[in-house]
């Protein structure tokens, strides 16, 4: 019963959040400076052509009616029609989603495979001369450098010295998996720098918190090997904040993908939204933001479930044990 209540509560709060986001983004795109008619049709468009465009996309109707039509399109799954391509937004999002998903998965993998060991290493060697300061400096840099700066730099350097990697073009994974990977590694690396840094810092803090626990001292006293202690006592007990962070970072990476896809010319959801913002393609921007909000919500639910599995005291049904 408690589980049903939990799921019901999450479903309701998620729906309310999505509704709030939909209102905000719907209003925000209409408050952006610049008219859709001039942008979509160009300066030579006549008043009749502008009026015809407004009628075709329902932009001549009262705003609350436009919002209602859009919500109905979202519920129908097509997310409205793009003023630029004249095609349903949902289909294009679906076509572009694999690129963004691949980019995000690669970046998350890099965050875990690099960030966690780096965090553990800097924690267990947190003594003068142990390299902790260098680690903190590097992770500080990683957090501070914006993706568009790092991305532009990487594009410039690797356009000269490719080293077998590819920038500026993209190959579908279905056409040539190896070539696809060669086009995705650098964008994923740029995208992952922030999350690697944050993961490393969070892991370091969590591990250092666990290191002072009595059960770790006892394990050392029992003469257990350092690697055994790390695996069996430290990592599991330090995992909760790290897993939470990786979950939220995954959703964050979608925001970073906006920039990285644009800079590296990858045909994913991010570049779709960036171009739509520039062209005031309302339906696309709205759908993109709503999709991102949906991913945040889903990731939060997954994190809650995963954290509960790792530490039953924090699980969704933890109340039964109290």
């Amino acid at each position: 019963m408690r589980l049903v209540m939990w799921w019901s509560g999450r479903a309701l709060s998620s729906a309310a959040t999505l509704l709030g986001v939909s209102v905000l983004i719907f209003a925000a795109v209409r408050l952006m400076p610049g008219g859709f008619a001039e942008t979509v049709l160009g300066p030579f468009a006549t008043a009749e052509q502008k009026a015809e465009l407004a009628t075709r996309y329902g932009l001549d109707q009262p705003v609350f009616m436009q919002y209602g039509h859009w919500l109905s399109a979202v519920a129908g799954g097509d997310f409205g029609v793009s003023m630029i391509s004249r095609q349903p937004v949902g289909a294009e999002l679906l076509a572009r989603l694999p690129v963004t998903a691949e980019l995000t998965v690669l970046a998350v993998l890099a965050s875990v495979l690099v960030g966690v060991p780096l965090g553990v290493l800097t924690a267990v060697r947190a003594r003068p001369g142990g390299g902790g300061a260098a680690g903190r400096l590097l992770s500080g840099l990683g957090v501070s450098v914006p993706e568009f700066v790092l991305g532009s730099l990487v594009v410039f350097v690797f356009s000269r010295y490719a080293l077998g990697l590819q920038v500026g073009s993209w190959v579908p994974v279905t056409a040539d998996p190896a070539a696809n990977l060669a086009t995705m590694i650098l964008p994923a690396a740029v995208l992952s720098v922030f999350s690697i840094s944050v993961t490393a810092r969070t892991t370091r803090d969590a591990v250092m918190g666990v290191l002072v626990e009595q059960y770790v001292t006892a394990a050392v006293g029992r003469g257990e090997s350092p690697w055994f202690i790390v695996r069996h006592h430290i990592l599991r007990n330090a995992a909760t904040p790290v897993v939470t962070l990786i979950g939220t970072t995954t959703a964050y990476l979608l925001g970073g993908a906006l920039i990285v896809e644009h800079v590296f010319n990858l045909p994913g959801v991010g570049s779709y939204i960036v171009q739509a913002v520039g062209r005031r393609d309302y339906a696309v921007v709205q759908a993109g933001v709503l999709l991102a909000a949906g991913v945040f919500i889903v990731m939060n639910v997954l994190i809650d479930l995963l954290v509960g599995a790792l530490d039953p005291r924090l699980g969704v049904t933890a109340g039964r044990r109290s």
């Binding site: 400076p33 993706e147 532009s152």
Partner: protein, 540 residues
């Protein structure tokens, strides 16, 4: 926090776009220019085998919003794309000469009559033979359309078949730019039988007589064109496939060129040649175009000092177009009057009335107008080299005591501010025109009643409009040159839209991947005009 993060992401993406497009105005090293025949930047090596795939990158995928009907296409990027599939009766050759295409020749029995002899054996890509009815129907459809190109065709009185292989066009009065106007994509011959029976919608389907037919299109991602096996010009097109990737970021196009992801790319930043200097096998060429930048002064904004002709003339005098060309365009543009510099018969900008005046004359005009401490905002879009051009304008006008505040915006915000309302809300704005292939064509945009887009910030000038119409009627020769000079002088004095400098096109290609043909000059912004000639050396 999370919505803020997303908002920051969107804002940063825009910033990234702006920053990545921003460059310095350092002098580029000399670009590699191929030695080719007169009028050409490069000529394809016909000794190379045909076939292969040609991989290109361009910055934008325009046209979908208004549909792909050639007659409604109004921007050069769309003309360029459509030119792969559509052809016109005549075309533009090197140095802006008008040459035969679907009409193998034409007669002009009188200054108001043109008889086009249609080429035999021409088919649309669906295999149906082109007929005189297609030609007549296409021109009549264009004349009845609301497309911007309708106005450029001039005073057409009638279009009629003259037998099965000739078409006669009669004008109300002589109109010299007629053939040049026929040479652009909006005047393409369409499959009228299919359009009339509604089996083809030209807004969504490209069906023409051109060298390529569309195989696949993903909006803002890519186009794939396959050779039109029914193409009338035997041996062309040389390449079997043309893959066009849409890459909005210039840095990404440059990277793709350098590492072989693209064989040819169009570039916008004049400094790109410098960035590609030394890149192995990459050649960068600059095509002179008739496109030109111009400054708009809003004379309709209530209370604006810019409504006073003396103030506008002072501004025109103070602008140093040569400095704009040298500093902002790396020496690649040319100062121009309203007839684009480089076109045969265009005016000499050094002979304009404002060119003979000094800074002191400009100050005196401002004093007469009571505008000594004039200050206004110049609205520009963020694409290079507009910011650099604006900075030179700012410094030029500072010399006459005019303070210019530069307002840099993304293109959508800029379009909304400049074209969104009448009267428009801006003080001054910077933009550019396609200059076309006849000097009288673009002068029509100085008549807001014809152009339409500038009705919100520009007052019609009857005298100027009369001069523009007169210049259009004069046949090529000394009398026309004199008429065009009068138009230039009057527009210079009117100074509601002040021409600045021409806008060159930069093209980069891999010499190890292809052998291209490129004209040295272009009037319709079509870098791909000779794409059917390009020989592929190796496909990436």
């Amino acid at each position: 926090m999370r919505p803020i993060r997303l908002a920051c992401g969107v804002a940063a993406a825009l910033l990234a776009s702006a920053c990545a497009a921003t460059g310095t105005t350092t002098s580029p090293t000399p670009a590699a220019q191929e030695t080719a025949a007169p009028g050409y930047l490069a000529v394809a090596d016909e000794a190379l085998p045909t076939g292969g795939a040609l991989n290109l990158q361009v910055h934008i995928d325009s046209g979908a919003a208004t549909g792909y009907d050639p007659q409604l296409a109004d921007v050069a990027t769309t003309w360029q794309l459509l030119s792969l599939s559509y052809e016109t009766l005549v075309t533009i050759g090197p140095d802006f000469s008008v040459q035969p295409l679907l009409a193998e020749k034409w007669d002009t029995p009188s200054p108001t009559e043109y008889v086009f002899h249609l080429r035999k054996g021409v088919s649309f890509s669906n295999g149906r033979e082109m007929t005189a009815d297609d030609v007549v129907g296409s021109l009549k459809r264009l004349l009845a359309s609301k497309g911007v190109w309708r106005g450029q065709l001039g005073p057409v009185k009638s279009v009629a078949k003259d037998g099965d292989d000739k078409v006669k066009v009669t004008l109300e009065q002589p109109y010299t730019p007629f053939l040049a106007a026929l040479a652009n994509v909006p005047a393409a011959v369409l499959p009228m039988k299919e359009i009339d029976d509604k089996s083809v919608d030209p807004a969504t389907t490209l069906l023409g007589t051109g060298p390529y037919a569309v195989e696949n299109h993903r909006q803002d991602v890519s186009w794939t064109f396959k050779r039109n096996d029914k193409y009338w010009n035997k041996g062309k097109p040389a390449a079997d496939t043309v893959n066009i990737t849409i890459a909005p970021e210039e840095a990404a196009r440059i990277a793709a060129l350098q590492n072989g992801g693209a064989a040819l790319a169009t570039l916008g930043n004049v400094d790109s040649a410098t960035m590609l200097a030394g890149a192995k096998d990459v050649k960068v060429v600059t095509q002179a175009t008739t496109d030109f930048y111009y400054l708009m002064l809003n004379t309709l904004k209530p209370g604006s000092k810019l409504a006073d002709p003396k103030v506008r003339q002072a501004i025109a005098i103070a602008l140093d177009n040569q400095q704009i060309a040298d500093v902002a365009l790396g020496g690649k543009g040319k100062p121009t009057a309203i007839t684009p510099a480089g076109l045969p018969g265009s005016c000499d900008p050094a002979a304009l009335p404002s060119a003979g005046k000094s800074v002191d004359d400009a100050k005196a005009l401002l004093a007469e107008a009571g505008a000594q401490n004039l200050s206004f905002t110049l609205s520009i879009f963020s694409t290079e080299p507009a910011p650099a051009v604006a900075q030179v304008i700012q410094q030029n006008l500072q010399q006459i005591g005019v303070t210019v505040k530069i307002e840099q915006m993304d293109e959508a915000s800029w379009s909304g501010k400049v074209y969104g309302k009448a009267p428009a809300e801006f003080d001054a704005a910077l933009s550019w025109f396609a200059g076309y292939a006849d000097p009288a064509m673009v002068t029509k945009w100085w008549n807001p009643e014809t152009a339409g887009f500038n009705v919100g910030f520009m007052k019609p000038d009857k005298e100027l409009n009369t001069l523009i119409d007169a210049a259009g009627q004069e046949p090529a020769g000394a009398a026309r040159d004199k008429a065009l000079a009068a138009v230039c002088a009057k527009a210079d004095a009117d100074a509601q839209m002040i021409p600045l400098v021409t806008r060159p096109a930069t093209v980069a290609y891999r010499a190890d991947a292809l052998s291209p043909s490129l004209y040295a000059t272009e009037g319709y912004g079509n870098v791909l005009r000779l794409v059917a000639d390009v020989r592929v050396k190796k496909s990436q």
